[in-house]
Amino acid sequence: MLNGVQAVLYREINVFRKKAKKQILASSLSPLLFLIAFGWGFGDRVAVNGLPYILFLIPGLITMSSLNQSYSIAQEINISRFYFHVFDEFLIAPISHIEIVFGEVLYGLFKASISVFLIFGYAFLFGVDLRISGLFFLVILMHSFLFSLLAMTVSMLIKDHGSQAQVNTFVITPMIFLCGTFFPVDKLPAFFKVIVHCLPLTYSTQVIRASLTGGEINFAYIGIMLIFMCTFFLTALYAVKKVEA
C-alpha cells in the first residue's frame, strides 16, 4: 500500500534535488525582501497588537512562505500533467488514488518545511526571538498539509496550465495579502472581514503567530483548520479520481 506514496515522493524529491539550489534561492528571496522593506522600514517603531512590527511580521512570513511552498506543488503537478505527461505514469500504475494524494502532499510538506527553517534563520539574523514549541510544529504541519491538499485539488480540476495562473492571481495572492499575514484582520472593513473569515489562511495565520509570540491560542481555530483539512482531503481525492490524461 505504501509503495505508491514512496514512488510519488521518490519522483518529486529526485526532481527537486536536481534543482534544489535554484529553488531554495528563489524561495528565500521574497521573504527577505518583505523583511527588509517592512521589517527595517517600520522596525520596532511601529507596534501591532502590542508586538513590535517585526515580531508580528516574521510569523506572517513563515505562514506565507510555507503556504507558497506547499501550494507550489500545484504548479509542478501541472507541468508534469500537461507538458511532460509524467503524471500519467501514476495513473497507469497499480497504485491507489490515496497513495498519489499522500505522495504529493508529503512533498508539499517537505518543501514547506524548508521555507520554515529558512525564515527561522532570518529571524535569528534579525535578532527576533521566537518561541518555537511543539504546538507550533503541529499547527504549521496542519497549515502546510491543508494547502498542499488544496494544491492537489486545484491541479487536478483545472483543464489547462493557464487556469492555474488564474487561480493563483484571483485566489491565492489576495488571500496571502488579506488574511492577517502583514496586518491584523480586525483592521479590515466589515465586508472584507466576513470574506477573510471564510478563508483557511486567516485561522492558520492567527494560530501560528500566537504560538510563536506567546499569544493566546484559539483552539476553535485549530478545529476550523481541521475541518478545512478534511474537506480538502476529500476534494483532492475526488479530483484525482475524476482526472483523465
Binding site: 514512496q6 521518490y10 536536481k18 511532460f84 497499480p94 497504485i95 490524461a245
Partner: protein, 285 residues
C-alpha cells in the same frame, strides 16, 4: 496460442463533448497475440488505448482483463498491462536508472529484485552505458527504447504501444521493430500496437484491426484482409492521376493491362491498399 482472452472489450464508447471518438467497439486479445491497430489520424486509436489503460474513463461499455471487470479490479488488472504512450512520458530530469527505479516502486517490485530487473532492462534496450545520464540528453530513439523496456519491467501480460516508431529514422525503426518482436516471441507478451507504417504492421502482426471514425471496421489476419480485395493491383497512370483496379489472378490483370492505352503497372496487393480503400470510401461517403 492458447484460448485465454487477456482482454475483452465490448461496446466501448468514449465521447468528448458530443462527439464520439470511439463508437461501441468490440474486440478481444488472446495471450501472446501481436495485434496492429491501424487507422487514420483521429480515428480513435489513442482513445482506445487510453481507455483500456485506465487513463480515461469510458463513457460506456465493458473492459475485462481475464474475465474480471477493469473498473472494479483496477489494481490487479493494471499489474497485467504495460503502456508505451504516444507522447513520451519519461521524466526528463531523472536519469534512465531513476526512471526505471520509479517504475519498480510504482509496481511494488520486491527490493531485492529491483536492481537486477533494471540492469536487464537497460541491457535489453542497449542503454547500459547511459544508465546515469539524464533523459533530456537522450536522442528520440534512445528515449523510445527506454519507454518500451520500462513498460516491461513488471512482466506484463500485454503491452500497449501507441505509435512506438513514429519520428524515427529507418535504421532505428527497424531496430525497434526487432525489439518489439523479440518481446512478443521471447517473453510471450501480447502486444497491441498502433502505427501508420502499414507495411511494417503487415509484416509483424498476426492480426490487424482497422479503425475508422471510432468504429472497428475490419479485424482479421493481414493475409485475409488483403485478399478480400484481390491479390494483384493494376495501376494505370492517366491525366487524372492513378487509378487502381484489383484482380484475383495475375492473368486477369494482364488481360486488362493489354486493353489499356496509358502507362500501367501490375504489383502485388498490400495491406495499405485495403486500408485506403476501406477508409477512403467512408471519408467520401
Amino acid at each position: 496460442m492458447s484460448n485465454h482472452p487477456i482482454l475483452s472489450v465490448s461496446k466501448l464508447v468514449k465521447t468528448f463533448g458530443k462527439k464520439p471518438a470511439v463508437n461501441a467497439v468490440d474486440f478481444t486479445i488472446q495471450e501472446g497475440e501481436f495485434i496492429g491497430l491501424l487507422g487514420a489520424n483521429g480515428a480513435g486509436k489513442t482513445t482506445i488505448i487510453k481507455s483500456v489503460a485506465g487513463l480515461i474513463k469510458p463513457t460506456s461499455g465493458s473492459i475485462l482483463y481475464y474475465d474480471k471487470n477493469f473498473e472494479s479490479h483496477l489494481k490487479e488488472s493494471k499489474k497485467l498491462i504495460g503502456v508505451v504512450p504516444q507522447n513520451s512520458n519519461l521524466d526528463r530530469d531523472l536519469t534512465a536508472y531513476e526512471n526505471l527505479y520509479l517504475h519498480t516502486l510504482l509496481h511494488n517490485i520486491p527490493v531485492k529484485e529491483r536492481e537486477a530487473k533494471i540492469a536487464t532492462a537497460l541491457e535489453f534496450a542497449e542503454l547500459s552505458e547511459y544508465r546515469n545520464k539524464q533523459v533530456k540528453t537522450f536522442s528520440g530513439g534512445m528515449k523510445r527504447r527506454l519507454v518500451i523496456v520500462r513498460a516491461l519491467i513488471h512482466d506484463p501480460k500485454i503491452i500497449f504501444l501507441d505509435e512506438p516508431t513514429v519520428g524515427l529514422d529507418p535504421q532505428i525503426r527497424r531496430n525497434l521493430w526487432n525489439l518489439i518482436l523479440k518481446i512478443n516471441q521471447v517473453k510471450k507478451t501480447a502486444i497491441l500496437l498502433t502505427t501508420h507504417y502499414i507495411e511494417e504492421a503487415e509484416k509483424l502482426c498476426s492480426r490487424v484491426m482497422v479503425i475508422d471514425h471510432g468504429d472497428i471496421i475490419m479485424d482479421n489476419t493481414p493475409e485475409k484482409l488483403k485478399h478480400g480485395l484481390g491479390r494483384f493491383v493494376l495501376e494505370i497512370y492517366n491525366e487524372d492521376g492513378i487509378t487502381e483496379t484489383y484482380f484475383d489472378s495475375q492473368e486477369a490483370a494482364l488481360i486488362e493491362q493489354g486493353n489499356c492505352q496509358s502507362e500501367s503497372k501490375i504489383r502485388n496487393i498490400a495491406l495499405e491498399d485495403v486500408i485506403i480503400q476501406l477508409t477512403g470510401r467512408r471519408v467520401n461517403a
